[in-house]
Amino acid sequence: MITDVQRLTVVTGDSGETTRLRKGALSLLAHGLLTLASILMLYPLLWMLSASFRPENEIFTATSLWPSSWSIQSYIRGWTGLRIGFDTFFLNSLIIAVLAIIGNLATCSLAAFAFARLEFRGRRFWFAMMLGTLMLPYQVTLIPQYVLFHQLGWVNTFLPLVVPKFLAADSFFIFLMVQFFRGLPKELDEAAMMDGCSPWRIYWKILLPLSTPVLATAAIFTFIWTWDDFFAPLIYLSDIRTYTVQLALRTFVDSSAESDWGGLFAMSTLTLVPVFIFFLVFQRLLIEGIATTGMKR
């Protein structure tokens, strides 16, 4: 490394001293820029957090992040701010998210295994179809799906939000898992096949145990996207007892936005907490998951 730098300086004709100074100044400038950008990016979030702990009368007068006195009144008020407590909404969101994770992991990995590892007639064609659905705007299937679920009597239940996940409807995760499976050595399956292993056993006993990183990534993204989803609950859930946290927040905005900002910020903050925890704990997996989707293997 050091020799590289020396070689470069020789070539560019700079003396070592000025290069080092320039490098230091540049790096200081870069750090300054990045720190400034970080503060700018995080300020709104921190401000909301602190606003949720402020006394109500202070929310719109103070720009500092530190409340003059801490109060959890907003949380108490907000929790029961709607006809039904937020415990119901959190529970609903949690149930939907957990079912979505199970469905996605089970069926997307099945499909991905077929695409990545099995030989069958039409594989390339169906794989192309699957990639095509990645780009599909959901609006074009929305209305017939709604009619279908409506006629099945599924409106105001969690089924329209959950059943599609058990039919591998999230092609993104199939794609992600195909990418991962393709990176695993093919000799594994071939050896197992020689020993008379069925495809099912290869999938269940060999590939899945090796795939915990991608399964975890898929689970985390499924959780976050399902938790944050607003559109599908908006369409299918109109009974307040079935509301998810996102729908409940929206109702909160409509019913009391101008009167109870404190309660609104408190509940908004709470709905972000699970995603934030996932972010803290699984940051590495999330970042790798995002990075690999853009890479060719």
């Binding site: 979030l45 780009m135 929305l142």
Partner: protein, 317 residues
């Protein structure tokens, strides 16, 4: 459905050989396991994707209102959309403006910060995490609520401006600025393309830069002649993904405008207009026509991008 696969394969030409005699024979052959593993996906693909696409094409030529049976009305929906629907034009304008402004800005920020971080900076994981966080949280209602407050008349932005003696307008209720607040929200979430850029930058071999600097190339030249060309696949990927995301954007506009797309339809995203038609007025046939127009636009855009990509995207193979 039974004969569809082999027929399509014959067209795709991916597998040579005679067509299977029957579905049952095919299921027992070596093709069986593949289709068995794909069974849930097949049910989803036909039942929730392909079937609905075709049905919505049919519905787009009807006056379907969810309650009564659909009546064929020829191309009346499309005629009205293209000749007598000011809201269609407005929502198209809003969406295109949003996409054309927010996507390049977002990508520019993502690339700029990725380049800075890629210089082997100390504290990279911390910066990366901070910049990535907004794109994880950004889709939620809570952030839209926060944004609504930030850019309100008495919001945080104006309180900040007041320190400099500037009395700001209510950004979200002024049609000149309302869309810009949504663009700011989109750009704020530059973290996820940034991470993809970082991964792409890391794949560029270091010895290319060494060779170039031995030849006397400066920083800017190396960026233009090495970094940028080798990064074009990633730029292309990010541009496609972000554009499609942009077309799909719904929640922020819905929450910030209270579902109306106001002030004076300045934030009436195409998705929002479609939602109003379908689930506000239950004009499902009309909304299906709108959905199909969106599909055609997205398909045209995507194929145009892929066709032109060979002139500027550099693949090494």
């Amino acid at each position: 459905m039974a004969s569809a696969p082999s027929h399509e394969v014959a067209q795709g030409g991916s597998v040579a050989g005679a067509a299977a005699p029957s579905w049952w024979a095919a299921a027992r052959s070596k093709n069986g396991p593949g289709y068995l593993f794909l069974l849930p996906w097949f049910i989803g693909f036909f039942g929730l994707t392909l079937g609905p696409i075709l049905i919505s094409l049919y519905l787009s030529f009807t006056d379907f209102d969810l309650l009564t049976a659909p009546h064929w009305n020829g191309g009346a929906n499309f005629v009205r959309i293209f000749t007598a629907d000011a809201k269609f034009i407005q929502s198209m304008r809003v969406t295109l403006f949003f996409v054309i402004v927010s996507v390049p800005l977002k990508l520019a920020f993502a690339l700029g910060v990725a380049l800075l971080l890629n210089r082997g900076m100390r504290g990279l994981p911390i910066y990366r995490a901070i910049f990535y966080l907004p794109s994880l949280l950004g889709a939620s209602v809570a952030i839209a609520v926060l944004w609504r407050q930030l850019f309100a008349g008495n919001g945080l932005v104006n309180q900040f401006l007041l320190n400099f003696g500037i009395v700001g307008p209510s950004w979200i209720s002024n049609p000149r600025y309302s869309l810009w607040t949504l663009i700011a929200l989109a750009v704020w979430q530059f973290g996820s393309p940034m991470i993809i850029f970082l991964a792409g930058l890391r794949q560029i071999p270091l010895d290319m830069y060494e060779a170039a600097s031995l030849d006397g190339a400066g920083r800017w030249r190396m960026f233009r002649k090495i970094t940028l060309p080798l990064l074009t696949p990633v730029i292309f990927f990010n541009a496609i993904i972000q554009t499609i995301e942009g077309f799909k954007s719904f929640t922020p506009a819905f929450i910030i405008s209270g579902g109306t797309g106001n002030p004076i339809n300045s934030t009436l995203f195409y998705t929002l207009y479609l939602y109003q038609e379908a689930f506000g007025f239950f004009r499902m046939g009309y909304a299906s026509a709108l959905a199909w127009i969106l599909l055609v636009i997205v398909a045209l855009f995507t194929s145009f991008s892929f066709l032109t990509s060979k002139y500027w995207v550099h693949y090494d193979n």
